[in-house]
Symmetry: C2
């Protein structure tokens, strides 16, 4: 398995962030992850209620989130721990992530995390 790539904070592009979160599944996953207390594993985030995301698609979603700079992934034993980079990101793009999550949260019938 190739080593995981994480962009440095200063290399993160807002377009990449917007692109990553413009996919409804990725946005749902990210919102869940941002709301969760501990670092979420891929499989724990796979269930979106209305549909279970196939493994390969999930893996790709996490790759997109990771390489856009939104999350940090780390192998821990057999599974992968993912956590948001919210704090860092807010330094670089003040208010951006917050505004996106708020906008998403305002949609009816969503963000019903656990």
């Amino acid at each position: 398995m190739r080593p995981l790539f994480h962009p440095a904070l200063e290399d993160i592009k807002p377009e990449a962030i917007l692109y990553a979160l413009s996919d409804p599944e990725r946005l749902a996953i990210y919102a869940k992850l941002a709301g969760a207390s501990g670092g979420g594993t891929c499989s724990a985030l796979a269930d979106l209620g209305d549909r279970v995301i196939p493994k390969s698609s999930l893996s790709n979603h996490f790759k997109v989130l990771r390489e856009s700079g939104l999350i940090r992934s780390e192998r821990q034993g057999v599974e992968m721990r993912n956590q948001t980079r919210c704090t860092e990101l807010d330094e670089r793009f003040p208010g951006l992530i917050r505004a996106i999550l708020t906008a998403y949260g305002q949609l009816p019938g969503q963000l019903k995390t656990d």
Copy 2:
């Protein structure tokens, strides 16, 4: 020519906004439009400095921006006047557009509008 479609404020989806602005050319166009004083025409926004966008691509960019709810387009004689829907949008998704434009503006060597 088909009539232009503009979504009602309450039908605007944040995913659509993020998608529309995740394309570097559209983001550049939108930033220019948001910075411009009058409503910009398509051709006035076509020149991105490093490249001139083909007409058909431009037309499609404006369609995406319009149908995502980011801009309002209105035919005025032979040309098309475009204006942002910033104020309305800020009501629905507080801080979102501002944060995106700020993030984009922080990139080095951009937003050098005229």
